[in-house]
């Protein structure tokens, strides 16, 4: 059977509809950033549901949303608003997202551990003050870190 015949026969039997995969793939590429975050949140939510021995229906009830909305969240395919994240966190009783650049300036006289202290971009803020300061920084990935700006 010649190659042309195969192409001809294929052309006759191919579905008139397109696969739809390319559109899906382009969507995933264009929205890569928030999709990754949504996937991480989905993993945390599923872990927590297992800990609590809850099903998705119970979470939907606690959040006062539909089961379909919870289903989208646990697939990691939902562009969550801050309001939805807050609702999720309250229902599950855990923190899902920790924002970076949260800084609390405290006195340099405070007895904080000095080992491992380092300079950070926060120095610009604290250098305006007369006394050396210790800046307390929370990041998305780490626990609270002490930063000495003196």
């Amino acid at each position: 059977m010649a190659v042309e015949n195969i192409q001809e026969k294929l052309a006759q039997m191919l579905s008139p509809e397109k696969s739809g995969w390319l559109e899906d793939a382009n969507f995933r590429t264009e929205n890569r950033g928030w999709l990754k975050r949504s996937q991480t949140i989905a993993m945390k939510v599923l872990d927590r549901l297992e800990e609590l021995n809850w099903d998705q229906k119970k979470l939907a009830d606690k959040m006062n949303v539909t089961a379909q909305q919870v289903s989208k969240i646990v697939k990691g395919n939902e562009n969550l608003t801050l309001k939805s994240i807050d609702n999720l966190e309250r229902a599950l009783g855990i923190e899902l997202v920790r924002l970076s650049m949260t800084r609390i300036i405290i006195s340099h006289n405070t007895s904080l551990p000095k080992e491992g202290l380092k300079r950070s971009p926060a120095i610009k803020l604290s250098m305006k003050l007369k006394q050396p300061e210790i800046v307390y920084e929370a990041s998305e990935d780490k626990e609270m870190t002490y930063l000495n700006t003196g």
């Binding site: 195969i6 509809e17 739809g20 995969w21 899906d24 995933r28 996937q39």
Partner: protein, 185 residues
């Protein structure tokens, strides 16, 4: 199970079957599953023994999910790139992605059962397809392969789907085993 239609995934080179129990073609379906955290978690829970057997080293379920999400992303990107390059560069085709299903076979017939690997080293993602002509593939399914063999039930299912697809193509006279040498052309 029967095939209801064949979809063109990439123009004139990559096709996918759609089984009667699915609303979308199988390639689109598996690429969606590999980006679905809930699906992946259920899969790895079900195949926990294979996951922790040591073939892929020590790994938690969440690490396995993240790894799959990342591998699927890279695989998808490579297929898209080949689709774009293929329009101008005829040497970089899907043929470079697919490998023989049985590594011992040296003379690859036209309808060679093939699988495409995820691009990372020791990737566990597999797409199964039948090559029916030069750079012309029909995808029958895909799987996460956690074992060195095809013994787990979900992998046996993939072998069955390859056979079903092959028989369907024969029935539709898309390829003929007796004529396969001509297809080399």
């Amino acid at each position: 199970m029967k095939i209801v239609s064949i979809f063109e995934v990439l123009k004139e080179c990559l096709l996918s079957v759609q089984y009667d129990e699915n609303e979308i073609d199988v390639f689109r379906y598996i690429m969606g599953c590999w980006r679905d955290v809930e699906y992946l978690r259920n899969f790895f829970k079900k195949h926990d023994k294979d996951l922790t057997s040591g073939f892929y080293g020590e790994i938690t379920i969440n690490e396995a999910i993240r790894r799959t999400l990342d591998e699927a992303e890279e695989l998808e990107r490579n297929i898209k790139e080949i689709a774009q390059r293929g329009q101008t560069d005829k040497t970089n085709t899907l043929q470079t992605l697919f490998r023989p299903l049985k590594k011992t076979e040296e003379n690859v017939p036209e309808h060679q059962k093939s699988k495409v690997y995820g691009t990372q080293r020791k990737s566990w993602l597999r797409i199964y397809a039948i090559r029916i002509g030069p750079n012309l593939f029909v995808i029958s399914g895909g799987a996460i392969k956690l074992t060195p063999n095809m013994e787990p039930e979900h992998l046996m299912d993939e072998l069955r789907k390859l056979e079903i697809t092959k028989n369907y193509l024969k029935e539709k006279e898309i390829f003929d085993e007796d004529d396969y040498e001509l297809l080399e052309f």
